[in-house]
Symmetry: C2
Subunit: 226 residues, 2 copies
């Protein structure tokens, strides 16, 4: 299947790499492909720059945001939370019509220092704002609650973890469930419509505190039940 | 040990019953003991009224809020979130000096309908507000993330669940850990100081969504890690 990734950071790389490994045709979208390829700065965690990563994955295409959205069936939103709405607006909401948008972003506000707060919270969420901005797309919120490596390899945290998802469109959710299973998730809980994105985004604070406590991002949440 | 419970609802009953079963001397505090005993209304879940429950637990004492706080070493705050700060203020913050306060409450705001929102969120929490109001007490936040039965019997959800706690005082946390172990919790994560109460209270939305999805409150969170 043709898959598009918005965002060139570690989340975008992890998802793109895994989808490609699973045999999907993957395009990564960026604002300016030439500039992205010319960038030789380390990524946000001190790892190799995207330009180096993409050279190691020649099967993955690089395109503009718009080319990517128009050419694929499923779009993974791996943009920084504070860039999501402006970027989607600049691409043009109408271009997303009929497509599934898997939203992995988080509304993290680092402007007041660490730990970040959430810029949508309680009675709103970034997932809902994306669905409002793209009324003809089918937004599914998932995967935002683990680190990039665990997203596509849950065994890194432990085989028994739970992944949640939510969204308004049953077909987009069914496709997302298939992809989650291909990533290695077996305990998948559908929390209902896109308003459940509030609860998934509000998991970030406990994720951050647990990460600080364990000193590792290799963990995930499991809903234990009888 | 002498233990005090503030609140006569299902959480207060569950904690009081378990502590008593474990051999502690338990007093439940209420605004007006005579009125509480005269109340024959069902509890919030349609169960028997508190007056009937206390008759079945004759070893548990009933006192005023103030009597309870003054006579015990550890106080469990099992009050409704929206009544906590006014009740503690009316008791008198100075009466809590030197005592451990285990805070199980949640800042749930039902005034806009279901699902509730949180009236402290992001950069504040009810746990922190309690610690600010009771500067000479040692507040420990824990247990607020599971239902009352699971709090004192985690096997009802599954033996492998995780319980978190946080607070500023190491000794109060160590005592709380011992009590959690006696309740049946074995995987206990100390998230640090009382500001981590934000992350524990922000688990309520995912708890509520999971409860709606599973149709049962018999579940708990596990941090899966290698």
């Amino acid at each position: 299947m043709r898959m598009g990734i918005l965002g060139t950071g570690v989340v975008g790389q992890a998802i793109a790499g895994k989808l490609s490994e699973l045999g999907h045709e993957v395009t990564i979208g960026t604002r300016d492909a030439a500039r992205t390829l010319a960038d030789t700065k380390s990524n946000q965690y001190g790892g190799p720059p995207f330009s180096q990563w993409i050279q190691q994955h020649p099967i993955i295409k690089l395109g503009t945001f718009t080319e990517t959205v128009l050419s694929v069936e499923i779009i993974f939103n791996c943009l920084r939370g504070d860039a999501v709405l402006s970027t989607l607006t600049s691409i043009g909401p109408e271009k997303f019509a009929g497509k599934a948008v898997v939203d992995i972003s988080n509304p993290l506000d680092f402007s007041h220092g660490m730990p970040p707060t959430l810029f949508f919270v309680n009675d709103n969420s970034l997932g809902e704002e994306i669905q409002k901005l793209l009324p003809q797309a089918h937004v599914v919120k998932t995967l935002n609650i683990v680190n990039a490596e665990v997203m596509v390899n849950p065994a890194k945290a432990g085989k028994e973890a739970t992944m949640f998802l939510c969204g308004n469109d049953p077909q987009a959710k069914a496709r997302s469930v298939e992809l989650l299973k291909a990533f290695g998730w077996h305990d998948i809980l559908d929390l209902g419509d896109i308003t459940a994105a509030r609860s998934l985004e509000m998991l970030l604070p406990i994720w951050l505190r647990t990460w600080m406590t364990l000193g590792s991002g290799y963990f995930a949440f499991k809903i234990v039940r009888p």
